[in-house]
Amino acid sequence: MTMVLPQVDLPGGVPPPAERRAVGAKVKFALRYFIQLLRTHPAYAAGYIIIAVVTVVAVMAPLIAPFSPITADPSVYLQPPSLSHLFGTDATGMDVFSRVIFAPRIDLAIAMMGTLISAVIGTSIGAWVGYFQETRGLRSFLSNVVMRAADVLQAFPVFVFAIALVAVFGQSISSVVFAIAFVNIPIYLRLMRSQVLGIRRMRYVEAAYVCGMSDLFIIRRHIIPNAMAPVLAQLSVNIGWSVLLTAGLSFVGAGVRAPAPEWGSMIAMGFPNVMTGQWWPSVFPGLALALTVYGFALIGASIEFMADPRRRRTLANVRVPFAAVGE
């Protein structure tokens, strides 16, 4: 389809002063609205606090930890929690507290890297597939092939699939990251595709098309920004879920190897002790793990709340400035 269209001025570069003021007002409004959300829903605030604390503790771990996380002291094995060993010691005499606070360095890094990679790849492919699936020709055919491939990948049992991937690439941290990224891609692909299928029919997309914008420009400028909210909510929940998967892989011995401080392998190492009554080597890392995942789930729930206009309206105290509503 070739049409000669008048050149349209594209917004770009430095926004004019009026627009910049509007942007400032929008940011201010969003911030006020966010604070209101946290005030009315303390659980969401708790989620942000949990993740902030876990992150800070992980970063500061070398300063906080009273003992080395990987040095065993056989003279103090399986000590119950006490003042010198807050969470006790494990069967080899390593300090459980020090290991628990060092662990998020590995667990969070793996989970965040894996999830980000899968989100970037998954949403890009998903946007492409959603944009072209209902057209005709080669690109539509390719889109359908991609969707069937996603069906096949999702029919695999996730955990066995992830272990097999780690086995293929050799047991290392980067293999775990890759395995997590790979099993998560179909989730983002589907999510983005369903969003894009809806947005594609919007008038403003048609208008942009009629104005002669390229497909790539429309996807970048109109489709992706409008489809991002559910992806962000999913991202947060998914990081938590990936922490669980990392821990699970390490629990069966297919992820991070001991003595590297990692929650899943710590739980596995403490397993025989739990049977005989020494609960602390397994319980504390599990608590930290559950709390972290819970924090990410809460953040995800809060993003979902913010992205839903109907529930947004329930925050009645926030006066919506007219300048911020339009667009």
Binding site: A43, R148, A149, D151, V152, L153, A155, F156, P157, V158, F159, V160, F161, I163, A164, L165, A167, V168, G170, G240, W241, L244, A247, G248, F251, V252, G253, A254, G264, I267, G270, F271, V274, M275, T276, G277, W279, S282, V283, G286, L289, A290, L291, V293, Y294, A297, L298, A301
Partner: protein, 336 residues
């Protein structure tokens, strides 16, 4: 007639999907470093005997040929042999798959018993204590690592209280497992009238089933809650209220209309748990199919892995098919 045609169409659609699954699984496993022949014969084997075994296993042929040989064997019901158990994979799976299925089925039933009532109640009292409890439970259940919860339950109910026998296996080691009829120990022992075996298998089921139930009640609760809330806001419920129908009746109609989405989440969970219960299986040394596959990957024993993947994919697909038939039965809009 219409239904038979529908099912036939669906089954036809499954064939390419199954082949895709086998292909991906096969390629994945071929990509794993480690030569099965070397592993089977041990480090002392001579190069000649390794080459001979490779020839017998078909490992010296190109990958596409190996794939077609594998498919050809599959069609004849030959899933290969596991070198760890030295048994045909099909025989192993015949014992292990029902073990997983028994665990997962009871686990899901428990999850339904917890999730649906809590979901309904929290949808009725959105702002009250129970509503908040429902929200909280939904998020917490999703955050708990199942293998850790299993350990906690073992600690409390075995180490501290000694209410359950030692959490190893499906039945007391001193007892003879019942003859395989359905593969479910609880049902088989009842069919045989063996009460000790029945009681022992129930005792061994309690903790793993409770673990799976508590965790998977989360998504069921969330789904029940959100659908019920939507239904209670729907026009038909508002209208019934306006007409002065008793609240109980309105609730019952809302519940009836929430069933399809609850059934959907149950079917998704059912398919997922066949492989997803593997960590719980490992904690309780359950000897299920997931555990079998994980051990296979970790020891370069690949026939069990592929066998498991095919079994669980088939199972999920059958569950989805059954669910679609249930939709037909309960939703008159689809039938037309």
């Amino acid at each position: 007639m219409g239904i038979a045609r529908y099912v036939g169409g669906r089954l036809l659609f499954l064939v390419p999907q199954i082949i895709g699954i086998i292909l991906v699984g096969f390629l994945l496993i071929k990509a794993v470093p480690g030569d099965p022949a070397t592993l089977m014969l041990g480090p002392m084997a001579t190069p000649e005997s390794i080459a001979k075994l490779r020839g017998e296993l078909g490992l010296d042929k190109p990958i596409p040929v190996q794939f077609f040989i594998y498919i050809d064997k599959l069609v004849h019901g030959d899933f290969g042999t596991s070198w760890q158990t030295t048994q045909p994979v099909l025989e192993d799976l015949k014992i292990r798959f029902p073990a997983t299925l028994e665990l997962v089925t009871y686990g899901l039933l428990t999850a339904l018993l917890i999730g649906i009532p809590l979901g309904i109640v929290s949808a009725m009292r959105q702002r009250g204590f129970l509503g908040r409890l429902g929200d909280f439970y939904g998020l917490v259940a999703g955050a708990l690592p199942d293998f850790w919860l299993a350990l906690i339950l073992i600690y409390v109910f075995y180490s501290l209280l000694s209410w359950v026998p030692s959490p190893i296996g499906r039945i007391d080691v001193m007892l003879v497992p019942p003859a395989t009829i359905t593969g479910f120990y609880t049902i088989d022992s009842l069919l045989e009238g063996d009460w000790t075996a029945f009681w022992s298998s129930v005792q061994h089921l309690i903790l793993p089933v409770l673990t799976l139930g508590l965790i998977n009640a989360g998504p069921i609760l969330k789904m029940t809650q959100s659908t019920m809330e939507r239904m209670l806001q729907a026009d038909f419920c508002q209208y019934e209220r306006l007409c002065g129908l008793p609240e109980e009746l309105v609730m019952r109609h809302a519940l009836r209309n929430s069933f399809p989405s609850v059934i959907t989440i149950v079917s998704v969970l059912y398919g997922f748990l066949i492989g997803g219960a593997v960590l719980v299986e490992i904690v309780f040394s359950w000897g299920g199919a997931g555990q079998y596959a994980v051990q296979g990957v970790l020891n370069s024993d690949f026939n069990p892995v592929l066998g498991f993947v095919i079994f669980s994919a088939l199972f999920s697909l059958v569950v989805y098919l059954i669910v679609d038939l249930i939709y037909l039965a309960i939703d008159p809009r689809i039938r037309h």
